[in-house]
């Protein structure tokens, strides 16, 4: 002990002075989650409506609620409104925590949030009015909206980059590799998808395959994995099994995921080498997928009791399994034989819900339930969390099973050379089951909204935050 303040004393002083900044970080992270939840509810309605219309096509026959207009409202709202805002809210918190620094500029994050809210709201309005770039999945929005979204990506990406730049530790924690990478990659792929200079004729198809695939895999997957690399060890109170596996997953995901988009257009007139590379590298995808899944499962090994005791960890466990199983399913769908019978069918829609829901949404929920109470000081009602968990899990299982069966039936009627309408008659009972699953999922979203409200920051947030020890065991 010397007269000069020890490192730990310095740290405590800095913690007190930054308590207000930490509170601001927490507050903006929570605001992202609130708006994400609003868009989740909007997107859910926009998903249920077309589902119902497949069984009752003359239900609500208004132009702006017609199937073809509302389907892209569902996909874009749950992508950019729900999943993106929720993951970025969590990423802001994770980047700040793992850097032991407050968010560089909470004001900038708030501006980006309102840019995104305006974008998603504008997307709902324009698509229902029929202002659309046509059925190009996840880039149906007219370019001014895309420009707003892109601006928000730049602001948030820069903000998090600066935050990681002010970190108090020498290492960049693995979560931040994923978070910074995701912002970089989304910006590149989004600009690529909206530049109109190589999109005539089949050129459009090459870009569509690249975009629709990497928008999912280089953004949502990466952010969700990055958030898990923080949330899982934090909730378990033990380090991640392997840092190196995380780095391996990061680079191999970039290499493999980027080049496999063409597997959405097997047997199409795009160059055959693109299709073949896409199939080969889809197998390669097993490396990052199981590096991530395996790493998480090994971190969870022997933690049965912790999972049982926590209401957040079961969500993360489902999300991790959803990641591994959903992605493996994707690899098998890429094969030419599977493509013959399953492409164009509902099987694909089942797969996208196995991944965007059973993986991405469950990771968001697990991280939200695990992390938000740590910075707001308020816990949700465990019973309502349980209701959320079981409705969402049973709902998505019914949904995915129903659509997978429907897809196989569609493929079989086509292969049997029967009249096209036979495939609709065969799928229709399963579409009803899809709506049943969807209703359960919708119920779970209402429960989540109740819980988000229950976890709202208390008025005395800044004092409470300063009472929470920020020091990690590493510094102690």
């Amino acid at each position: 002990m010397s007269a000069v303040a020890s490192p730990s004393q310095q740290l405590i002083t800095r913690q007190r002075s930054s308590a207000a900044a930490d509170a601001a970080t927490a507050r903006v992270a929570y605001q992202y989650l609130v708006w994400a939840t609003v868009w989740l509810l909007v997107g859910t309605v926009a998903g249920l409506l077309p589902a119902i219309k497949l069984n009752w096509p003359d239900f609500l026959p208004t132009p702006w609620l017609s199937f073809g207009r509302i389907r892209p409202i569902h996909t874009n709202t749950v992508f950019w409104g729900w999943s993106t805002m929720a993951l970025v809210g969590l990423a802001i918190y994770v980047a700040s925590r793992t850097s032991r620094a407050p968010l560089w500029s909470p004001a900038l994050a708030r501006i980006a949030l309102w840019l995104w809210n305006a974008t998603v709201f504008g997307g709902v309005v324009t698509l229902s009015a029929g202002w659309s770039r046509g059925p190009q999945e996840y880039r149906e929005w007219v370019w001014p909206l895309a420009a707003l979204l892109g601006l928000g990506v730049v602001l948030n990406g820069y903000n998090i980059y600066r935050t990681v730049g002010t970190r108090q530790l020498p290492e960049v924690y693995i979560s931040n590799w994923y978070i910074l990478g995701a912002f970089c990659w989304l910006l590149i792929l989004y600009v690529t998808a909206y530049l109109p200079i190589y999109e005539s004729g089949v050129g459009n198809v090459v870009i569509q395959g690249y975009y629709m695939h990497t928008a999912v895999g280089m953004w949502f997957t990466i952010l969700a994995v990055g958030v898990t690399y923080y949330a899982l060890p934090r909730l378990l109170g033990r380090p991640i099994y392997s840092y190196a596996l995380g780095v391996l997953g990061f680079w191999t995901n970039m290499l493999f995921y980027t080049v496999i988009g063409a597997h959405h257009f097997i047997f199409s007139p795009i160059p055959t080498w693109l299709q073949t590379i896409a199939i080969l590298f889809s197998v390669g995808m097993m490396v990052p997928v199981w590096a991530g899944t395996g790493n998480f499962l090994l971190t969870l090994r022997g933690a049965r009791h912790a999972v049982h005791q926590s209401y957040a960890l079961p969500f993360l466990l489902v999300g991790i399994l959803g990641y591994g199983l959903g992605s493996t399913q994707g690899t098998f769908e890429a094969f030419r034989t599977a493509n013959i019978y399953l492409h164009f069918t509902n099987f694909t829609v089942g797969h996208s819900h196995a991944t965007m829901y059973a993986f991405i949404a469950f990771i968001i929920w697990g991280a939200a339930y695990g992390l938000v109470p740590q910075f707001t000081g308020r816990e949700p009602n465990p019973i309502i969390v349980g209701v959320h968990f079981w409705l969402a899990l049973v709902g998505v299982v019914i949904y995915v099973v129903a659509l997978s069966v429907a897809g196989v039936l569609q493929g079989m009627t086509w292969a049997a050379g029967r009249s096209f309408i036979a495939s609709i008659v065969a799928a229709e009972p399963l579409w009803l089951w899809r709506t049943v699953g969807g209703l359960l999922m919708a119920g779970s979203h209402v429960a989540f909204a109740v819980n988000v409200w229950a976890m709202r920051p208390s008025v005395r947030l800044s004092e409470e935050i300063s009472a929470i020890p920020i020091q990690s065991t590493r510094h102690a």
Partner: protein, 193 residues
Amino acid sequence: MISRLHRDHRAIVAFAAIGYLVLTLVIAILPASKVQGTLPLPGAPVRSAEAERGRQLYLKEGCGFCHTQFVRDLPMDRPFGRASLGADYAREAPALLGSERTGPDLANVGARQPSEVWHLIHLYNPRAVVPQSVMPAYAWYFESKEHADAGDVVVPVPKAFASSDEVIAATPDALALARYLLSLRQFSPAPGR
């Protein structure tokens, strides 16, 4: 350098951005630039202005979410026409290959179902011609009136789908949509060329 990467967030971002840009160029931008110049088959007809307007409505209503225009070289796709060629999509933006076939493929629908009246009735309410259909009814592209005026295209909708004291007239938009559907004919140059 590589061994110190985990201590340098600038380097992580730089490597991730450059690596991804290179992959994007190789796998997306360069191939797209190359194939976008694919020419139409020699002698392929050019779509009329009205049919082109119909195509814009087809995009607006999101028809392509359920209808492909993409015939694969597979036995099960034979009923829809010959295998699609890059040339079939020449100069179209966006090309409407599609990813889901909730409804049938339309690459060659103008040849498979050449009746304009059928298409108009079907657009007004698909269940009037295909009872099990789950396609939306596009009734907002039609006018219901007491008497047909001069120049109206009256659509003979079955009685069960329109009351007996009204006539259903196609708006210019409905006609444009039907003309677009009729223009979807796979072109093959005359043999021997």
